[in-house]
């Protein structure tokens, strides 16, 4: 699966961050959608299933880990990359245990994120 075919969902309550990151990814030709809360993310996933979800751990309302748990139960083939502001926290480790593909620290470098997406998509693709 080529990276441009990967269907990406970006979930973060920080709109400025999410929108800008989405725009930058779009500029690079990636297929990316945004959700600004956990609830919205679940709706979007229901309407169109993404290949990779990039999701902040800390959000008001539904937490990243809750969604991760839900996704792994319903759609295990969707790869999740967690974003966190806190390095080495339990959240990150917990997420990994729950089956997240990886976790990245904010602020992040776009190239590193893209590389991770490619890896995740490759695994997801095999899974399909």
């Amino acid at each position: 699966m080529r990276i441009h075919d990967v269907n990406i969902l970006l979930v973060d309550d920080e709109k400025e961050f999410t929108a800008t990151l989405a725009e930058r990814m779009a500029l690079r030709g990636l297929r990316v959608r945004c959700a600004y809360s956990g609830e919205e993310a679940l709706k979007q996933i229901a309407t169109e299933k993404p290949d990779v979800v990039i999701m902040d751990v800390m959000m008001p309302g539904l937490k990243g880990l809750d969604i991760l748990r839900h996704l792994k139960a319903t759609n295990p083939e969707i790869q999740v990359i967690l974003l966190t502001g806190q390095a080495g926290t339990r959240d990150g480790m917990e997420g990994m245990k729950l089956g997240a593909f990886d976790y990245l620290l904010k602020p992040l470098e776009l190239d590193a994120l893209l590389a991770k997406i490619a890896e995740a998509a490759a695994i997801g693709g095999k899974a399909q």
Partner: protein
């Protein structure tokens, strides 16, 4: 009552909330020592005083008794001597007729027999009822002398017997007169009078066996000496002391002599005659034994008090040292808990701050990234290079901020320690490898003395690296160029200890107490003040201990000990 005293004075011992200061220790020491001294020496002193007086009394009695016995014996000797002489004279008066006694030859014969049988007779005379000396044999030419007017003559006529006081007689010898009355069948009385020299008195006194310095003498009731003495004068001198009250029992008085010296005066009055026998013994001489005993007593008492003092002082010392140690340990524990709490609260704060800052940083990062993307896409963007430079600089700054927040998070995070069995020596070698370049450059000697037998320990390699990097970096900062840093390891059954010793600038006491505090730094603008506090946190998390000793201008030693297995962390 004791309980009250104890509780009042020793309240410092039990109140654990009060921080015990040296001043309180001093006053406690005083109080405990005083209390122990009093409780120990008071009974001792009372015992000593009681012993002193009882013993003195007993000894005094012991000393006086023999004196009393001697005086009694001597008195008996005197009485026997006088009674013998008197009865001899009485025998003569009764055994011979007046006619026989009036005969010169007979009387001379009688005197001769007397002088043979009884020592001390000097002369003998016969006196008729009118007081005329009818016959006389002896050294004086007294025949015809009339005694009718003399008191003794009347006394012997009434009482039948008379013993005179001592007087100076023939050849300046002291003499005593013995006179006995006898009544003829015709009813006419006559008197036999004999003179004795008192040489025998001296003999009796010598027989008393008094020690030198003591004195014995015979007095009459008027206080005139009847015998010579060593210290109270010759015969017929007046006794220098007042006459003691009359008693026929041997009695001992304690008094002072004319020179003010303490003496024992043992004396007794004679019931049959006017004599008084006295023995004088200086008290000092008699009490010599007592003084020895008293010296012993005083010595033992003083030694006892001294021993009690030393013992109580030592015990108090020990007690207080234990107390102080316990207090210090408690304080240390409190400080550690406090420190740990401070670290953890600062950690939570730092985590919160870092997290809050990371989100805006992420926004800046993305916005700026987007700006660069957009400018990159436009070939004809004016001043493109300049803008790209500016944007890069912003991005670099974001990275710098991110590093800072990550460090703060690193300080705060609950570590996911990845434990593995490792050789601490390897870690040290690896870590010091990072610094050899700088050391070489500054001509600093960085030596590793590694204990090859040190056991392998279970710990986190990365964390250990951070710890040693921190410590070694500090050491490098502290030593001058061409300085020296020694790292040595020591292993035992429990784990491994690492000692990092430098000969750098050292630290003051004040600095030492703060170095593990977060945000404490001596590097002014260059440091975050987190290095050693992170180090401290990591070492603690790995179950280890870290301690530091330092002396200004001499250097600093960090000692880190790690157990073979980290204890279960909270």
């Amino acid at each position: 009552m004791f309980r009250k005293v104890f509780s009042r004075h020793l309240e410092g011992l039990s109140s654990s909330d009060v921080v015990v200061t040296p001043r309180i220790y001093r006053s406690l020491r005083r109080k405990i020592t005083a209390l122990m001294l009093i409780t120990a020496t008071l009974p001792l002193a009372i015992m000593a005083a009681l012993n002193y007086y009882e013993y003195q009394k007993a000894l005094s009695r012991e000393i006086q008794n023999p004196l009393r016995v001697i005086v009694n014996k001597a008195k008996n000797s005197f009485e026997l001597f006088l009674a013998e002489r008197t009865s001899a004279v009485g025998f003569i008066a009764q055994a011979y007729t007046f006619k026989e006694l009036a005969d010169d030859k007979d009387l001379a014969r009688i005197l001769k027999i007397l002088q043979t049988e009884y020592v001390g007779f000097v002369d003998i005379g016969l006196i008729n009822d009118k007081g005329e000396l009818v016959n006389y044999v002896g050294p004086y030419a007294l025949k015809g002398h009339n005694y009718a007017e003399q008191t003794w003559f009347n006394e012997v006529r009434v009482k039948g017997r008379y013993i005179s006081d001592v007087f100076m007689g023939f050849r300046k010898f002291p003499h005593v007169v013995v006179a006995v009355r006898h009544t003829l069948d015709s009813g006419e009385p006559f008197i036999v009078r004999a003179t004795l020299d008192t040489h025998q008195f001296d003999k009796i006194i010598v027989a008393m066996g008094l020690e030198p310095g003591s004195d014995a003498l015979l007095l009459n009731r008027a206080g005139i000496l009847q015998t010579s003495s060593q210290r109270f004068g010759k015969v017929l001198d007046t006794f220098s002391l007042p006459m003691p009250p009359p008693t026929f029992e041997a009695t001992v008085l304690q008094q002072q002599d004319a020179e003010g010296e303490d003496i024992f005066l043992a004396y007794t009055y004679f019931p049959e005659s006017d004599f008084v026998l006295a023995a004088i013994k200086p008290k000092a001489q008699m009490l010599r034994t007592w003084y020895t005993v008293r010296g012993d007593l005083v010595f033992i008492f003083c030694a006892g008090v001294l021993a009690v003092f030393v013992a109580s002082y030592k015990i108090t010392d020990l007690l207080l040292r234990r107390m102080r140690e316990a207090e210090e340990q408690r304080e240390l524990a409190l400080r550690q808990v406090e420190h740990a709490q401070k670290l953890s609260s600062i950690g939570r704060l730092a985590a919160g701050v870092a997290h809050e800052i990371n989100n805006p940083l992420a926004v800046i990062n993305e916005k700026t990234g987007l700006m660069r993307d957009l400018i990159d896409l436009r070939e004809d963007f004016p001043d493109k290079e300049r803008y790209l430079q500016l944007i890069d600089s912003v991005l670099k700054t974001v990275i710098r901020c991110r590093d800072i927040t990550r460090r703060m998070l690193g300080f705060a995070r609950r570590l996911d320690v990845s434990l593995e069995e490792l050789d601490l020596n390897d870690v040290l070698q690896e870590t010091s490898g990072f610094l050899t370049q700088e050391a070489l450059h500054r001509k600093i000697e960085l030596s590793l003395t590694l204990d090859a037998n040190a056991p392998r320990i279970v710990s986190d390699r990365g964390q250990l690296q951070q710890v040693f990097l921190n410590i070694l970096n500090n050491a490098l900062a502290a030593v001058p160029d061409a300085g020296r840093i020694d790292v040595c390891t020591r292993g035992d059954g429990e784990g491994v200890c690492v000692e990092v010793r430098d000969n750098g600038c050292g630290m003051s006491k004040d600095t030492l107490t703060c170095i593990f505090e977060p945000f404490f730094t001596t590097k002014k603008t260059k440091g975050t003040g987190l290095g050693l506090s992170i180090t401290y946190g990591i070492v603690k998390r790995l179950g280890g201990e870290i301690s530091v000793e330092s002396e200004v201008d001499k250097g600093t030693v960090f000692t880190l000990c790690f157990p073979k297995h980290p204890k279960h962390e909270a």
